[in-house]
């Protein structure tokens, strides 16, 4: 029995929103993981801040690591988001706008 390959054509992509979420969340997740490792490789979260009043979030190391990780993730995600926004909203290169007969479509 043969299966028509047509089943696969065309609809294999994600919706735009899905792609956007993925390209923002995932790279920033990777960067945040590395940043967390490097940061807490050098800094012990329980020693952060004033000796007498350590910030409550850092009173146990595990909480400190987690807070650090999510902080890095947030920052990296914001940066990714901004990059994505700039790329998505940029005008295409003039060459891309050209039509087959060489004329440019009006804005």
């Amino acid at each position: 029995m043969r299966q028509a390959p047509e089943e696969y054509t065309g609809k294999l992509r994600w919706p735009r929103l899905g792609q956007d979420v993925a390209v923002v969340a995932w790279p920033s997740f990777l960067v945040a993981s590395v940043a967390t490792m490097v940061c807490f490789g050098f800094i012990d979260p329980v020693l952060v801040g004033n000796d007498d009043y350590p910030p409550p979030a850092f009173q146990t190391r595990m909480t400190g690591y987690a807070v650090g990780f999510f902080f890095f993730w947030l920052i990296a995600a914001l940066s990714s988001l901004m990059t994505l926004y700039l790329v998505r909203t940029a005008h295409p290169e003039p060459a891309d706008e050209g039509t087959d007969d060489g004329t440019r479509s009006p804005e």
């Binding site: 299966q3 065309g10 294999l12 992509r13 994600w14 735009r16 490789g41 050098f42 012990d44």
Partner: protein, 460 residues
């Protein structure tokens, strides 16, 4: 805008269609199954292995110590991790230059877990055709049971995966006890669910989409290819023009190539691409299409290898050069780095000292004309045995060291803080001076470490 002008990217907005890869057997698929078992076996079993009193592999984050069998790594050993990452990156370059996306096809966690989820899916829902039929079928008792069973098994497997992950960071036997008693701490619960949830979503639903949209390696790997890289390709010269034929028919007479256009290679592809269109970045090099095509070729009585691992030079009929400057350079770099790594990690200094000045007072003037500074000296013993340490200091003439005992004992893998008083006759210095603390074990190994600090004295 007319129909014809609609951008090709219009489908961007369409919902994604699920791919149902068809199951295939063959030598490469067998290899992949071994890889899955080896890697996942390692992952799930490793945290249960004991090493003396403790878990053999434990990244003890609360205590800031990494245990790997007999080795204990401290935050000060951080650079070893960097070193490892460099070796890993070079290995990736090496294997990519050698045979393309070997990593994707055989070792990437994304592939490995997706493969397991696919097995579960096939086990519960049956073959590709059965799965597609089930998806199209109206809601029925059987559909509910089968889908429910699949999601339940996925869920259980993902949960176990998340639990194992956390088991690398907190002792897994304790964690297991807490899990069955529903008394895991908030962060443990959170990370189990987080990692388990990520596994569930990535391997159950996103699958090849992760490779397509989220993986940086998938995008830049082609930059590491050259014309001698083994890649999975379709031999266009031999296969085209493709076309169906009756068994035993003379294809040459009809002007047909070897491809019988059965589309099996497309059906088995987990990323849903057609390898016959040439190398595409979606291809994760799983080699399913090779096995599938070989099977077909065997059935119709043609030689195998219409789809195969080959180099661009090979396809052009030139010699294949697996050993070439590029691979030699990568391989020797990796060898040197691994040797260096092994040497340093076995010869690293297993004792260390960290000196912090007491912050409460700059200095104290003692009766009898001495100036005293107080320090908190932290002695780290990364060795597997306990040691007695002597503490000395130098840098100023007449420096006296006092910490209330002749020596300090520090247990294996422990840190000991000692309050040390240094005294200097008043006339010896004004302002301040750099000094060095030295710790030395009192046994025949005489392990030594030094730490720098500042001694402060009145300026007049």
């Amino acid at each position: 805008m007319t129909e014809a002008q609609a951008p090709v990217g219009g489908e961007l907005y369409a919902a994604r269609q699920k791919i149902y890869p068809r199951e295939i057997k063959g030598r490469f698929q067998r290899l992949r199954v071994y890889a899955v078992f080896a890697l996942l076996g390692l992952y799930y079993v490793l945290p249960w292995i004991r090493w003396g009193e403790r878990q053999a592999v434990l990244f003890d984050l609360p205590a800031r110590k990494f245990h790997i069998f007999s080795l204990t790594l401290w935050p000060q050993d951080f650079y070893f991790l960097t070193w490892l990452l460099i070796i890993a990156a070079l290995a990736l370059f090496f294997f990519t230059a050698l045979a393309g996306r070997l990593f994707c096809g055989y070792a990437c966690p994304q592939t490995v877990w997706t493969e397991t989820f696919l097995w579960i899916e096939r086990w519960v829902e049956g073959s590709r055709t059965q799965q597609m039929k089930l998806a199209k079928a109206p809601l029925s008792g059987e559909k509910l049971v089968r889908k429910g069973a699949k999601y339940f098994l996925w869920f259980a497997f993902a949960l176990w995966t998340g639990f194992t992950f956390v088991g690398y960071f907190t002792p897994i036997t304790e964690l297991a006890g807490k899990l069955v008693a529903f008394s895991t701490g908030p962060w443990e619960t959170f990370w189990v669910l987080f990692y388990g949830g990520a596994t569930y979503v990535n391997a159950g639903f996103m699958r090849e989409q992760v490779c397509k949209y989220m993986c940086p390696y998938a995008r830049f790997q082609s930059a590491m290819f050259d014309k001698d890289t083994l890649i999975i390709t379709y031999d266009e010269k031999r296969g085209e023009p493709r076309g169906a034929r009756r068994k035993g028919a003379d294809a040459k007479a009809k002007g047909l190539g070897d491809c019988v256009d059965c589309t099996v290679c497309v059906q088995v592809c987990p990323t849903g691409i057609d390898i016959r269109k040439g190398l595409q970045y979606e291809c994760i090099a799983c080699a399913a299409c090779i096995d599938a095509c070989d099977e077909v070729m065997e059935k119709v009585g043609y030689p195998k290898g219409l789809i195969r691992y080959d180099t661009q030079h090979g396809l052009e009929g030139k010699a294949k050069k697996v050993v070439r400057p590029r691979t030699i350079v990568y391989a020797s770099l990796i060898a040197v780095l691994i040797a260096g790594f092994a040497y340093t990690i076995t010869h690293r200094n297993v004792v260390a000292v960290d000196v912090i000045r007491d912050r409460n007072a700059l200095f104290r003037e003692l009766p009898g004309g001495m100036i005293e500074n107080v320090y908190n000296v932290k002695i780290l013993n990364k060795d597997g045995a306990a040691h007695d340490f002597a503490i000395t200091a130098d840098g100023i003439p007449g420096l006296q060291v006092d910490h209330g005992a002749p020596s300090v004992e520090v247990g294996p893998g422990e840190v000991q803080s000692v309050a040390v008083r240094l005294r200097v006759p008043r006339g010896e210095l004004r302002g301040g001076s750099d000094i060095h603390f030295t710790i030395r074990t009192l046994d025949e190994r005489a392990l030594v470490a030094t730490g720098r600090a500042r001694f402060l004295a009145p300026t007049n």
